[in-house]
């Protein structure tokens, strides 16, 4: 399967500790901007009951699902104990000068 690197947004399009959604190749991706201005991208779907992670609260490198508060590590896509589960993550790149964000899907 070929992967594609795409320009999705500029840093200024996303609030700090916030997230925006984007649909790429029929997958809904949630792009997060962390407090240190790094960017992480994951599949926008909680493995529990498909909650939208883009709507959740960001704490460090974790996001809390807005539906039932499952905690997901945005770096690995894994759900924190005592719950179980995993979602897909996507490689991201930020151009520090222009603020452009790229996601590879």
């Amino acid at each position: 399967m070929t992967t594609t690197k795409l320009f999705v947004a500029n840093l200024s399009d996303i609030d700090v500790k916030g997230s925006r959604r984007i649909t790429i190749k029929d997958i809904e991706v949630a792009v997060f901007r962390l407090s240190d201005d790094s960017v992480l991208a994951v599949e926008n779907r909680c493995p529990h009951k498909n909650g939208l992670l883009s709507e959740g609260m960001v704490c460090g490198t974790d996001v809390h699902c807005p539906l039932h508060d499952w905690k997901i590590d945005l770096r690995s896509g894994k759900v924190h104990e005592p719950d179980e589960g995993c979602i897909n993550t996507f490689e991201t790149e930020v151009d520090r000068e222009s603020g452009a964000i790229y996601v590879t899907v």
Binding site: K5, F7, M57, V58, C59
Partner: protein
């Protein structure tokens, strides 16, 4: 290489399979396991059939081990096979369908058969027992076709069946041969109280009636009694008792009495053949409650696995019955036999009864009705056999273990053996819970619940689970555990608020930094809490952090299960106008809103709205946000009052609208719901609101701390005032007092329970103090703006509602 031994379990019920579960943990490789079950289901929780019938659970939820479990553990399962022969010479087991399996060891766990009274007519259609899933299905089916049901048997099972049938909408009569219900667990006083409660729920009783026959032609139509009377019933449920199922054992030459006789290691009279559960008789007792059976299973598993065990020595049992709000508990020997002394309290006003039975300075039995919170502790005291000499009255009055002295509470838990059962409903031992706490990171009761199932059914063991939490969580930290507002800190709310005030902290980041948070960015519990406290302490200067708000408060709409949102515009006091209704209707049509529904708060809800449509809808509606989300004032419900109602003594509508306009958008520790009723008939249900106003002739009653949710609480009366201005003064002061003192996520009901009504009354006593509170809340309110308008007009905020537009590929990899 030693050959694995073949183990055959006859019976797929709770006791037998529990023994296998233990065996698999202790010695998974030693046995090749085959299970025969007569019913066509995997292992399910028979006790929870009552809940299925009463509507609290569905059939799927009561399965303990599903089909996959057998596969995963390499267990050969034959359901729908009733074992009819054990050949002890050839060492084979044969089912009624002719399936033959070899064995090295057998566990007979055939359970009980419901005792069916040998009455004329017992073979008619519509006469059943209450034992398995099939019986439940017949009852549910009958409730849809017929109206009347009769339950023969006023014991534990009969009453649970009756409750279930009432829930299914049938008229229920319970027939009992004795004069008192549940005579095996309750004494006369408690039984009579129980009867009154159940009658209030709709159950009818025919006591001291001996059934002579079941009437009807092909289908039952009722019962006839020895005294000549009759009762109608299209469904007859026999719940008169159970008999150990010893048919197979008897036919195979195994020694039986009432049950299959076993020794302390569950071994029957034939070596290699064991029995466990309801079919077994140990030291003369065949148990019918789950905890002893689980204990037996644990001992048997150890024995089969070659693990040292002292053997099973019998059980002291307890029963807990919860029939829709009626709590009943019984343990040990509650009858007042010679040589015993009892202490009782009967409180007809509170509807409670408590009796403890003492012999030789030890607690040997207890009966509780109405308030069973002491049950688990009393039971533990009975089991431990410790001396309670001199402490009888303390135990009767239910003084908590902390007041009785640290040693008795936690000491008892500490001294308990690891395999002792804490949760009788699900058979969870102390060891399992301890393991969950120390090795699996469970640090709350709900974590323990999800991990082990302890406390997941009736919840009676919760105090003990909490005790174990203290015991083990404390140990692993190496120091006493202090409860912080969340896992990120050990500081509690008051400490945090004091520090924020003292050091003039003004962002969540600063607070977490300065106060030494474990996680630098906190968690979903503390960030919103800190955001609230900061804004409450310093409304003028603090800049609210959107990213620290819970989802609904960030998007100013209610997120639904499928990611759509709901929109609820403000309708003050529940009063609208044709123009507003038309506007809402037009917007709903224009945006193709899937559902328009009235809320309990007297306004309209547009459900199924896509996130990207939210700002557009708000713009078109041009109405303020109804704040049907978040920790703020929700609505002020009203009833018609003196505007039109013939009973109205005051204008509740105008009062309600005034309150809603004054307090909308207020940030509070938890959601706040108000209501104003126009007269004491209280049609606006003000007495289950956080702040409720009830008009009386010449004034207004002010009520506080009500809650109509999961745990219903009626309000406490705060005071009575004369004018509308006074209503505004007191409500402002109360709400601000609540804002400044309660914990984030603590409803007024919980807050008042915690601090006490007197404390609140005292704090609001002086007019000076009330006016000061009022002025602080008005300052806070003056700084709020309608969020919908703000979002519509601010691009920076509005952008968050739309997806990022078309991504552009950079290069192919």
């Amino acid at each position: 290489m030693t050959k694995t031994k073949k183990l055959v379990l006859i019976g797929n019920g709770m006791a037998g399979v529990r023994a296998i579960e233990h065996l698999l943990k202790l010695s998974p490789e030693s046995y090749d396991i085959t299970i025969f079950g007569a019913e066509p289901h995997p292992n399910y929780n028979r006790i929870m059939l009552s809940s299925v019938l009463a509507g609290g659970a569905d059939m799927q939820e009561i399965i303990i081990n599903d089909w996959d479990w057998y596969k995963e553990n390499n267990i050969t399962l034959h359901t729908g096979h009733k074992v009819t022969k054990i050949d002890t010479e050839l060492k084979t087991v044969t089912s009624h369908l002719g399936l033959e399996v070899e064995y090295d060891a057998i566990i007979i766990a055939t359970g009980s058969n419901p005792f069916m009274l040998p009455l004329p007519g017992a073979d008619k259609e519509g006469v059943i027992a209450f034992r398995d899933i099939h019986d439940c299905e017949v009852m549910i089916d009958a409730s849809q076709k017929y109206k009347k049901a009769v339950v023969i048997g006023g014991g534990l099972l009969g009453l649970e069946a009756a409750r279930g049938l009432l829930h299914l909408g049938m008229e229920v009569n319970v027939v009992h041969i004795f004069g008192n219900l549940m005579e095996r667990q309750l004494d006369e006083a408690a039984a009579k109280m129980l009867q009154r409660e159940l009658e209030a729920q709709g159950m009818q009783f025919l006591l001291q009636k001996s059934t002579t026959a079941i009437k009807g032609k092909r289908r039952a139509t009722g019962l006839t009694f020895a005294d000549g009377t009759e009762v109608d019933g299209d469904l007859v449920v026999m719940a008169v008792g159970i008999k150990p199922n010893i048919e197979l054992a008897k036919a195979s030459g195994i020694e039986v009495n009432r049950g299959i006789i076993v020794d302390d290691f569950m071994q029957t009279s034939i070596p290699g053949i064991y029995a466990v559960g309801e079919c077994a008789e140990h030291r003369g007792i065949a148990y019918g409650l789950v905890a002893p059976l689980y204990e037996q299973g644990a001992v048997l598993a150890k024995h089969l696995a070659g693990v040292e065990t002292a053997g099973y020595a019998g059980s002291v049992t307890s029963t807990k019955l919860k029939v829709s709000g009626v709590d009943v508990f019984s343990a040990g020997r509650f009858d007042e036999a010679p040589g015993t002394q009892s202490l009782k309290i009967q409180d007809d006003m509170a509807g409670t009864y408590k009796k403890i039975v003492v012999q030789d300075g030890k607690l040997v039995g207890a009966v509780l009705f109405g308030d069973t919170s002491d049950g688990a502790e009393l039971f533990a005291t009975i089991k431990s056999g410790e001396s309670i000499a001199g402490r009888e009255k303390e135990i009767l009055l239910g003084i908590s273990s902390d007041m009785l002295g640290q040693s008795s509470g936690s000491g008892r838990l500490e001294a308990m053996a690891d395999d002792e059962i804490i949760c009788g409903c699900n058979g969870v031992s102390k060891g399992t819970i301890a393991d969950a706490i120390t090795n699996k990171g469970c640090n709350t009761v709900s974590a323990i619940k999800s991990c082990t199932k302890a406390s997941a059914s009736c919840g009676g063991c919760k105090p003990q689970v909490e005790g174990l939490l203290q015991l083990y969580a404390g140990d692993s930290l190496g120091e006493p555990v202090k409860e912080g507002i969340c896992g990120c800190t050990t500081l509690n709310r008051d400490e945090i608020v004091a520090e924020i005030t003292r050091m003039n902290l003004n962002s969540t980041k600063e607070v977490m930094n300065v106060l030494g948070w474990h996680n630098p960015e906190g968690c979903s519990k503390c960030r919103p809490a800190l955001n609230y406290y900061l804004g409450m302490i310093n409304p003028e200067e603090y800049v609210d952090e959107n990213e620290s708000r819970i989802t609904n408060e960030r998007y100013h709409a209610n997120i639904q299960k499928d990611g759509t949102y709901s929109v609820v515009p403000r309708i003050y006091g529940g009063v609208t106008s044709p123009a507003d209704l038309k506007k809402i209707a037009e917007v709903a049509e224009k945006f193709d809103v899937p559902m328009v529904k009235f809320t309990g708060g007297q306004r309209l809800d547009l459900l199924g709205v896509k996130k990207e449509d939210l700002p557009k809808i708000w713009e078109e509606l041009d109405m303020p946000s109804g704040h049907a989300y978040g920790k703020t004032l929700r609505t002020v419900k009203t009833c018609v009052g003196s505007t039109f109602c013939r009973f109205g003594t005051q204008d509740s509508i105008s009062m309600g609208i005034q309150l809603e306009k004054a307090f909308e958008r207020l940030n509070t520790p938890a959601k706040v719901k108000l209501a104003v009723s126009g007269c004491p008939r209280n049609c606006a249900e003000a007495t289950i609101k956080d702040f409720g106003v009830v008009a009386i002739d010449g004034g207004w009653e002010l009520h506080i701390g009500g809650n109509g949710g999961v745990k219903v609480r009626a309000t406490d009366l705060l005071c009575i005032v004369k004018t509308e201005d006074e209503v505004m003064e007191w409500s402002s002061a109360f709400l601000q007092l609540y804002r400044e003192n309660a914990q984030w996520n603590e409803r007024t009901a919980q807050w008042i329970e915690r601090v006490g009504l007197d404390h609140v009354k005292k704090a609001l006593e002086s007019r000076e103090e009330r006016l000061a509170l009022k002025s602080r809340i008005e300052k806070t309110l003056s700084l709020t703006t309608d969020p919908w308008k703000q979002i519509v007009e601010t691009d920076e905020l509005r952008k968050n509602f739309v997806e990022l537009s078309s991504p552009q590929p950079v290069q192919q990899l």
